[in-house]
């Protein structure tokens, strides 16, 4: 029997001809990412291992994202300790404030993840790397330290499930809507927990890299071990100017085994939204139109890319954000920021009354810029909406696409973009 793409990657990187689900294997790791929040702890663990040099200083990637610019004295001090540790280990690729971005965006946009390889990071959304056909996995600081020391990590080979996405993307529908739609289909009842989630089909081939990143990013929120899309010409074109290393194409065998295969016709997917507190409480946007909110937020590793800024700018051009709404948009990296600036999106958004903040995780994890307070109702294009996620436990967070956030920001209530005329 053939192997799935994830099984192939795990076999190739562990020096085996084949692996089977359930097997525990040690594999080579192409890159290890750690960021400000847990970076210092990771280097401490490396120290506990009795190791001073990382396995390859070009392949340990350090990024400041959760805490920059530092919102408190405590975090400023943490950042200083983190910088010290990075310097001490002479890390080649350090994306600190000024060159910063959300780590997962940086890892992909700067070519630190490659098809057919395994990259890990000390943050949950490392699943994003599957967008280029890599196995991307989040690990704790112990695993990251071991990988930094040895270039290896252990994995349990996951069972795979496949989503075949067919049909035509409808106007105003974004990859985020499909992510939420799948969440609503599957819930957290075990069908995806610990599995490798493979996405394929004509509607995936039609998707740009930004959309693929959104989809793979949210597979962690679905409970999957990794999300993956086999590399194609779009991947190759994206990686050509940035790839740090060489790679060769690979795909699942036609006779690979899947625990389940699901089909989604994207023609039927409309603007979609997750209700506050529970990510698998999914409704079509038309069910909640008219709901008032006071904060609009677009950014994060899920939806802070140039394409997301393009969508917002298209909607907000010549329009004004409603006076009862504060809207904040945060590019996912300095590269995204600059590109959106050059393309005029930033100007359009500022003219419409949107506040732009310097790239970081911003309000997503409730740490800085734009945290939610008591009574806030946030319409967010982020990935998590549990109580207290963005700050106050007495705030409500609706999750949706940048298109829904932008259109709704104009009207001041949740609005279906399909009913809105530009």
């Amino acid at each position: 029997m053939g192997m799935t793409i994830t099984e192939k990657i795990m076999a190739q990187n562990s020096g085996r001809d084949r692996v089977v689900p359930g097997q525990l294997v040690w594999t080579d790791v192409h890159t290890v990412m750690t960021m400000d929040y847990l970076g210092k702890q990771t280097f401490n663990k490396l120290h506990d291992l009795g190791v001073t040099d990382v396995f390859d200083k070009d392949r340990v990637i350090c990024v400041s994202d959760h805490l920059v610019p530092p919102p408190t004295e405590q975090f400023a001090t943490m950042l200083n300790q983190w910088r010290e540790a990075v310097r001490e280990h002479d890390i080649t690729h350090f994306y600190d404030l000024g060159r910063q971005g959300i780590a997962h965006q940086i890892m992909v946009e700067q070519g630190h993840v490659l098809p057919g390889k395994i990259s890990i990071g000390t943050d949950s959304h490392a699943n994003t790397y599957g967008a280029v056909g890599a196995v991307g996995n989040a690990v704790g600081v112990t695993d990251a330290a071991v990988a930094m020391a040895t270039g290896k990590a252990w994995f349990r080979v996951p069972e795979s499930v496949k989503f075949v996405i067919k049909g035509e993307w409808q106007p105003w529908v974004m990859a985020k809507d499909l992510s939420l739609y799948i969440m609503g289909m599957m819930h957290w009842n075990g069908h995806l927990i610990y599995k490798s989630l493979e996405l394929e089909g004509p509607a995936i081939s039609a998707l740009d890299m930004a959309g693929r990143m959104t989809l793979c990013n949210m597979t962690v929120d679905l409970g999957a071990k990794n999300g993956i899309i086999a590399p194609d010409e779009i991947t190759a074109a994206y990686l050509a100017p940035v790839a740090k290393g060489s790679w060769s194409p690979l795909a699942s065998d036609p006779d690979a085994h899947y625990d389940a295969i699901y089909e989604v016709d994207v023609t039927n997917v409309g603007p979609t939204l997750a209700m506050p507190d529970k990510l698998d409480d999914i409704v079509p946007v038309e069910k909640v139109v008219g709901r008032k909110f006071n904060k609009a937020f677009v950014g994060t590793c899920t939806n802070g890319r140039v394409e997301d800024f393009a969508m917002m700018a298209k909607i907000l051009k010549g329009k004004q954000v409603h006076r009862s709404v504060n809207m904040l948009a945060v590019p996912a990296s300095q590269t995204v920021y600059l590109e959106s600036l050059k393309l005029g999106y930033i100007q359009t958004l500022i003219e419409a009354g949107v506040a732009i903040d310097t790239p970081s995780c911003a309000a997503c994890a409730g740490i800085h810029t734009g945290v939610a307070g008591d009574g806030d109702v946030v319409l967010s294009a982020g990935n998590r909406n549990m109580k207290g996620r963005m700050g106050s436990k007495n705030a409500q967070i609706f999750l949706t696409s940048p298109a829904v956030v932008a259109v709704s920001a104009i009207t001041g209530e949740i609005t279906d973009p399909r009913t809105f005329s530009l």
Binding site: S14, G15, R16, L24, V25, W26, T27, Y37, L38, Q41, K45, D48, L49, G50, V51, M78, T122, D123, S124, H125, A138, V139, G140, V141, T142, D143, A145, V146, A149, T150, K152, W154, R156, W188, N189, G190, I193, Y194, V220, D221, G223, K225, A365, G366, R384, M386, G388, R389
Partner: protein
């Protein structure tokens, strides 16, 4: 490995990692005793005070799907449970991040389907890590869990992944790990 006996806390609903260790402790140093003080604080209001969970004296946790879900990589969830005296967690399924952290620290996360439907908080359980058999001494039911992988026992015996890898580095066999 000897059999373990003790009382169980049975989860009524999903147990999420960000509730096991609430946000203000995410950056705390990793230390079982420290991390145990506020472990599970967000899971149940009854545990939302210093040593709220520790004071219950539970030995086991029994849960349904997606234990420690929500995709947080913080290791404090596992060290906090260990500091609180938890010797094994039985669940229908585990979220992968904490599943690896548990293995890395040597706390058995044991996959056992639907045990939560047949156990109540306060029941006395006996777990035999060698056979994977779990007995509910309070109601006489028996459960067969997945047997433990040799690698998992090796790591536990070494006292955790760091020690395990440290030994491999010391004896020059780390490159042979595969």
């Amino acid at each position: 490995m000897a059999k373990i006996q003790g009382t169980a806390w049975v989860a009524k609903t999903y147990v999420m990692s960000f509730d096991m260790i609430i946000q203000r402790f995410w950056t705390a140093p990793i230390d079982p005793v420290e991390n145990s003080k506020w472990v599970m604080a967000g899971v149940d209001e009854a545990f939302n005070r210093e040593n709220g969970f520790v004071d219950q004296g539970y030995t086991f946790i029994v849960a349904g799907h997606n234990f420690a879900g929500g995709g947080k990589s913080i290791e404090h969830c596992v060290t906090g449970l260990m500091g609180a005296g938890i010797k094994a967690v039985f669940a229908t399924s585990f979220a992968r991040l904490q599943f690896r952290n548990a293995i890395n620290y040597g706390l058995p996360f044991v996959t056992c389907r639907d045990m939560n439907l047949h156990c109540a908080t306060g029941d006395v359980l006996e777990y035999d890590p060698e056979t994977g058999i779990i007995q509910n001494l309070s109601n006489g039911q028996t459960f067969q869990s997945l047997p433990q992988e040799p690698f998992v026992s090796e790591v536990a015996e070494a006292g955790g992944l760091l020690e395990f890898v440290k030994r491999k580095i010391a004896d020059g066999t780390v490159a042979e790990l595969r």
